[in-house]
Symmetry: C2
Subunit: 221 residues, 2 copies
């Protein structure tokens, strides 16, 4: 029984886990869940994740949901030599810094970024007009968050320190989609360190691999 | 240099950390931050947490922000005999279950519950009328989340298993305030296991101690 990931290669949370699996060199099977058809709300899927959301990871007898719990599991269990220790488990100071910036992504970045991505890419697919006022409101908040990142990245190459970690990885999916929006250029224009951080991440082999499947916004080019 | 916690005994995120400090028997000094006066946005506080939010923990040379990163730090560092191991670090299966349900609180419970608490308790203090439509919308979502909890608690006494963990602890502040609202009775009426789970948590010595300071809604009794 190998590793099975239930999800969709365009879903941000699925991408977060796929990027981690590629980083750690874990072979896995992607089992597609058609979210537009509501397959994540079907009984057999709800048995895996009662909240009816992708992704879900199965590894042997273990079933795990919530993307950021899955990435932690993968980072611990498959911490093979030659791959980056994404949790910095060898150092109490570094591992708590990773945890702090993982929480920053969850509670400061994601809630601000997610409505922008949803309104710009997903709402039109559902036949709805994007809520421009909401987008503007979120963009103003995002500017504040990115200002903090810019200051932080003046002190360290990555968010948790001078090492790539889960805290950076968790940002990848939303940053990737955001960088396809009309607001990307302005967001990085005055923030050279955020720009360099993003480019460094986007250049990683694992991220190039998942980016191939992230097709939202391709028709907007 | 002892442990210093910057925050406010009525703030949900401060309470989350205080409950953890009491659970682990850690002595600490609470340094009050007057949020209504905006002290969390003052330069000396921004130097501790650039996002300008409480709480912040100082332990010797270490400064940590984000409540759920602080609780993890406390649970690991002060895992004294005679206290519950809130991370279940001895068992890979249990510790990943804790992580899953910690993430559930962050991404399924908190975003649904937080607007209810804000609208009901905080908005009136700021001279605003509570947004009843938003409250209703969130209550409908909360019902769905609590249905999942009810089913989960049929299989285990606590969220991550038959043990009290950080996953349960993180729910305490919002559950405490929610149980003071007019919607509490209905929320637990058909959910005997959620009710029992809440009562078990609320009965813990650490929680009784923090509850003394959680005065929002007292004038509504």
């Amino acid at each position: 029984m190998g590793v099975k990931l239930y999800g969709h290669p365009m879903s941000s949370c699925t991408v977060r886990v796929m990027a981690c699996l590629y980083e750690k060199g874990v072979e896995f099977e992607l089992v597609p869940v058609n979210m537009f058809a509501g397959e994540q709300k079907a009984p057999d899927f709800l048995a895996k994740n009662p909240f009816g959301k992708v992704p879900v990871l199965e590894d042997g007898d273990l079933t795990i949901f919530e993307s950021r719990a899955i990435t932690e599991y993968i980072s611990k269990k498959y911490n093979a030599p030659g791959t980056d220790d994404l949790l910095r488990s060898g150092s109490p100071e570094e591992s708590i810094a990773v945890r702090v910036w993982v929480e920053v992504e969850s509670h400061n970045f994601q809630p601000v970024m997610s409505p922008i991505i949803y309104q710009h890419f997903v709402a039109p697919l559902q036949g709805k007009a994007p809520d421009q006022a909401l987008i503007e409101e979120q963009l103003a908040k995002l500017a504040g968050v990115l200002d903090v990142y810019e200051a932080r990245l003046a002190k360290a190459k990555f968010l948790a320190g001078d090492f790539f970690s889960l805290a950076d990885l968790h940002h990848f999916p939303y940053m990737f989609y955001f960088m396809k929006t009309p607001w990307a250029a302005e967001a990085v224009a005055g923030r050279a360190r955020v720009k360099a951080w993003w480019e460094e991440m986007a250049g990683r082999a694992a991220f190039k691999k998942v980016a191939e499947g992230m097709k939202f916004g391709e028709d907007k080019k």
